[in-house]
Structures are given as C-alpha cells and as structure tokens.
Amino acid sequence: MNRRTSQRLTLVMLVLASLTVLTLDYHGEAKRAINHLRTASIDVLSPVQRGISAFVHPVGDVFAGALHYGSLETQNEKLRDEIGATRRELAQSINERSAADQVLGLASLPFVSGIPSIPAEVIADASSNFEYTMEIDRGTSDGVGPGMPVIADSGSSGGLIGVVNSASSHDAIVLLITDARARVDVELSSGSTWVASGEGHGEPLSLSEPSGSSSEVHTGNSVYTSGLGGGTYPAGIPIGAVSAVRSSAGGFSQDVLVRPFVNLDDLQYVSVLEWLQPA
C-alpha cells in the first residue's frame, strides 16, 4: 500500500469513527454513558480550573474592560446621574426611602417565594465558541440537577438566566437563555403566551408567535415564564422586556425581541431553583 493510500485510509477510518461516536451520542444508553464520562471529566478538572481561574479572572476582566471602555464610560455617566437622583430623593424624606425599600423588596421577592434555592458561584464560561453556557460550583452533592431553572440578580433587576443542562457531583453546566437551543414558554404582561428562544451572545431573545394568536404586543411589555410547556419553569419568573416589535412580511405575524433583565456577561453569583419539571 503506498503512502497516499495509507493516509486516505487513516482519514476515512477516523472520520467514520467520529461519525459513529456522534451517532451514539443520540442514542439512549450510549448517551447516558457519554454524559457520565462528561460529568466525571468535569469533576476531575474543576479543582484545577477553580484554582487557576481565581488568578486569571482579573485578566479576563481587564480584557473585557478594555473592549467595552466606551459602553463602560456611558454606563458610568448614567450611574452617576442615578446616584445623584437617588441622593436627592433620600434627602427628601426618610419615610419615602423606607417605602422605596419596601417596594424594591416586594418587587424582587415574588418569583422565588416558596421555591427553595441554592446559591452558586460562576466558575467558568463556555468552553466552546458555539454555545452559551456557564459552569457553576454546585453539583448533585448540593442538590443541583439537570432541568433546574437558574436565576440571577443584576442589581436593579433579577430574572431567569438559564437552566441546568448537566451536573457532576460538585459542578453544573447552565445552558443560558441566549443559547440557540434554549426554549422558554413565556407570558407577556398583556396575558398572551409565546415561546422565547435564544439568538446568541449579546442578542435579544426572539419570541415566536403561537398559531392563531392575534394579541397586541408593545415595546416595554414585561415577559415572564408562563409555566406552560410541561412546567419546565415555574410560572412568574421575570425574563426581560420587549425591546422591539416588527410586523413580518404580509403583516400576518410579528417579530418580537426581548432584552433580558439580567446582563449575562458579568455574572458572579446565581441561584439555582430546586424546581423539577413535574413527571
């Protein structure tokens, strides 16, 4: 066998082996075995990952800061204005402050009341450029399991950020709502139900209109989980607000975009809701 034939044979065999593995990943038993292998690998590597990440996190922040300098400057200006306004309001009356605190407290509580939650720290971002996931430092030994919704608070607002995709004993991978594979049954503040899907990093979520729906949607409408779709998510968790509504060709349907309440780029702590889809 000459050299070129041998090379081609090696290539064909390895491509076939890869395709076999890929096919096996779609089958029940083999998929389970692969998932076990994946979680075991994450368990093995995560202590090293955590140790190194503790040193490296600031480096990543420097990169992110340098790249988003313009937006940070704008954000800073906005925050300064907000602080100024807040200070003026606080000076007006202690009673008003107390009332504001109560309102803020009430606003942030309802969607988690009654559902136990597990706080977790984000230890790593996705290891692939084609998925939007994050790794958290809680796993099955802490009660975290696949299918559990994950929420976060980004200062002024909180809401759903994703769902646990897989969990090893001490870590879990969260599939973010911006990932194209994420699907969330949602309800608008107007009462209509839709399905939200991810559109990638930094992009708003896209709502697909249920068949036969003729509901009106307006920019600024709040979006919550509906609890439909087999109860994957409990009802009433805030997700975001409608940022754009466009009529598609012919005007028979609408393209609705939703900007998530929580900034997914800068999360350090999240909360896993101990909620499992009803059997």
Partner: protein, 179 residues
C-alpha cells in the same frame, strides 16, 4: 513514533486542555475566546504529517468534547479533518520545496477549522452556530497569531524531542513522515 513521543503528546494535550478551560475560556471577546486545542492539532499535522495529525485530532477532539454541551464527536470529526488537511498541505508544499510558514498555516487552519465546526454543527441541526461563526473565527485567528508559535515549538518537542526549526515536517526514525 515512540511511546515516549505519544506520552509527551498526551501531556501537551492535557496541559492544553487545562489552559483552555482555566485561562482562555475567561478571555471572552465579542462572545468568543481563543482556542488552543485546534492549534495543537494543526501543529501536530505540520510536525508529524497528515495521518498522525488526524489521529491527534481525533483524540484531542474527543477530549475537548467532554467539556462542551454540543454533540459528542463533533469536535473530533472537525479536528480529524483539520489535522489531516494541515498535514497534507505541509507535506505537498515540502515535496514541491515551497516553504509555507508554519505559523501562518496554523492561523489559517484555526480559522478554517472554526468555520468547519460551525458548518458541521449546523448540518447536524445545532441551531445558532453559523450566526456565532464570524466572531469566533476572528477571535480564534487572533488568538492563533499569539499562540501558534509557542504551540508549534511545544508540539515539535513532544513529537521529535527537539525544538529546533526545520523547513520540513519531522521524519520519525525508521518510518515515513506522513505516517
């Protein structure tokens, strides 16, 4: 290739994986991060030829696939093609006495490999991969500009025991370079 070469290469792949998940995954630019694993595979293709490049690609791909949620085997399939293609290009250019710059080859391979990954992912029904491809290709290529030279040196050390530059890819003792 001796058992020592394979052992050294295994260490390089494992260290590469740790660098990827613990350091490079933290450097997110426009939603993407540099990818060292694809560079290791490309470097293996350049140093050891198409067949061994493909074998290294298969193993490295299976290992890298353990840490992502995309279907298992997708990375392996992509890396096999990258390792083989880079090795073949290097082999042909050596035969025709064209000295293709190895670092440039690594950078181009990383960019094309990333595109191939998105393409294969889309073909098997992974939504949103094509949309993320432009940013990923740019960031991976930029990362490759910085990482390809040290990766080539380390892979060369693993496969030949030497880090000296040579114009052609390594010819293992007692065998063909192309495997």
């Amino acid at each position: 290739m001796t058992a020592t070469n394979w052992a050294r290469l295994a260490i390089v792949v494992c260290v590469g994986l740790i660098i990827q998940v613990a350091i490079l995954d933290e450097i997110v630019i426009f939603g993407a991060h540099p990818d060292i694993m694809i560079l290791i595979v490309a470097a293996a293709g350049i140093v050891a030829g198409p067949s061994r490049g493909a074998i290294v690609g298969f193993v490295a791909g299976l290992i890298a696939d353990l840490f992502v949620v995309t279907p298992y085997g997708l990375g392996a399939l992509c890396f096999v093609v990258v390792g083989f293609a880079v090795g073949l290009v290097r082999s042909i250019s050596s035969e025709q006495e064209i000295d293709a710059p190895k670092t440039t080859l690594c950078i181009v391979a990383a960019a094309i490999g990333t595109l191939l990954y998105a393409l294969l992912g889309s073909l098997i029904g992974q939504t949103g991969m094509f949309k993320a491809a432009p940013a990923a290709i740019i960031v991976v290529a930029l990362g490759a500009c910085v990482l390809s030279y040290p990766v080539l040196r380390v892979v060369k050390w693993a496969l030949t025991g030497s880090v000296r530059s040579r114009s052609t890819y390594a010819v293992p003792r007692g065998g063909s370079a192309a495997g």
